[in-house]
Amino acid sequence: MRAMVYRGPYKIRVEEKDVPAIEHPGDAIVRVTLAAICGSDLHLYHGMMPDTRVGMTFGHEFIGVVEEVGSGVQNLKRGDRVMVPFNVFCGTCWFCARGLYSNCHNVNPNATAVGGIYGYSHTCGGYDGGQAEFVRVPFADVGPTLIPDWMDDEDAVLLTDALATGYFGAQLGEIVEGDVVVVFGAGPVGLFAAKSAWLMGAGRVIVIDHLENRLEKARTFAHAETCNFTEHDDIVVHLKKLTGHLGADVAIDAVGAEADGNLTQHFTSAKLKLQGGSPVALNWCIDGVRKGGTVSVMGAYGPMFSAVKFGDALNKGLTLRMNQCPVKRQWPRLFEHIRNGYLKPSDIVTHRIPLEHIAEGYHIFSAKLDGCIKPLIVPNAG
């Protein structure tokens, strides 16, 4: 089969690999019909995530058709059209039993601090991902769900991570009616978090980024006020002025490990790999939110330490909430919102790239060329 393969920092190519095999009775093999590149894939691509091995296939956002099932699979059959959450999870460990599917304890031998994620380094379990023609899906009775007939493929693939994560991020903000919500980052997760904040009754949503095309999308897609942080000497002061010097009630970090806005932070993390991530957006959240407010962290960070302003968080009495999204838990409600027309996730898709050209796709997304917001990967583009 054809598959994207990591060759070292900033380098990937498409190679011929063996079609994955059933390795456990609960496995399924899924033929991928549509995948995506996630912003967090760029952390792998840039060599930031420890134990990212040459030869691995990335991709944790994908949908497809069941090609083969293991002897223990009861809920799926060959030919089923399925969407697969980015979490690999067992359904019965202490964490899964309580709905924390992203914190499953039975799928990642390499680390206890994170669950299993498709195509996301050995730190997240060593599973190959879906930027390929086929992928192994463990616990096929638990993770995948049949795609409803009425749902578009492009909406379905965005439900496997980006939309679910943005929606989850807004929930962690504990938004109440009339709250001022500030979202740092107008990438896919930030756009979906901003959109979701309205569903939860926000009174005002402000999105902050430095890319004008993304801010334009935040205005049109997410109905948000926007702010380009490069136009202000100090974005925290500007945010205070915007909010009557109170600060936002809720701040959402939808940027994560490679945040710009502070060259020292960016260099020591994204370039020198001396921090788990560049916490520029997180520190802006901490300083920009009001005392007693809530910070929700959806941006991905590596397992190493980062220079986060915990003193300010303590002194302001903040609530810090975060997790990888337990995707499947979000789906029933998100299906309703899509069906009701409240959300149309595929509106943020900007690029559809054949798998054979995925190296260009990663560069376009990484360097933010061509107005790229969300690139999809088409395995058999013909």
Binding site: R7, G8, Y10, K11, I12, E23, H24, G26, P50, D51, R53, V54, T57, V88, C90, T92, R98, G99, N106, V107, P109, N110, A111, T112, A113, G116, G126, Y127, P138, F139, V142, Q171, L172, E174, G178, W198, L199, M200, G201, H210, L211, H223, F229, T230, E231, T243, H245, D260, G261, L263, K271, P303, M304, Q330, Y342, E360, Y362, H363, L369, D370
Partner: protein, 191 residues
Amino acid sequence: MTYTSERPPIAESSDSLRARIPGWGADLDPKDRPSVPKLQWQEDKTGAHWEFPERQPEKWPRERSIEHAFLTPVFGTSCPPKGLSGALRKYSYRKYSEGRAAHWLLLLAADRVDAWESHLRSFATLRPDNPITETGVLSEFTRHGFSSRVGKKRADVKHHLVDPVIVAGPWVLAAGLAYSAVRKVVRWRRR
């Protein structure tokens, strides 16, 4: 306002927002939010029909965090450890917990070693690594590399010039060292 007990006013009322924004307030009640509260007993086990999963066969000694009691019943089998990078990885997993910086720094070092081992190995194949095609950098010419950056007030442009140095620098250095070594050998043989 902020310096009194009054909250700074919001410009738009809830009724106006509900009329303007599709779905505004649909999840106003926290009971409608699927991840509230955080811990919720999942009676249906989301489709699982086991208490503890059957164990996946271990085809090679699978490296694992020493914070785990045992190898998890299911695990990824991509890219088994090999070479010097594999030895570094196995040592890191065997010796250090996730709580130790040494664990992660060793893994990051192993990643860099792995990349160079793989580059060198590729030169002995019919498909050597090609930094031009593998970085996708040619899309700079087809996907508006210049106009995507210039005049756009982007905060990241100032460090974009560093990326080619990070990617190409080691290759240029390696090529220079290889050239120097070959020249020395040729001179030595001519003597």
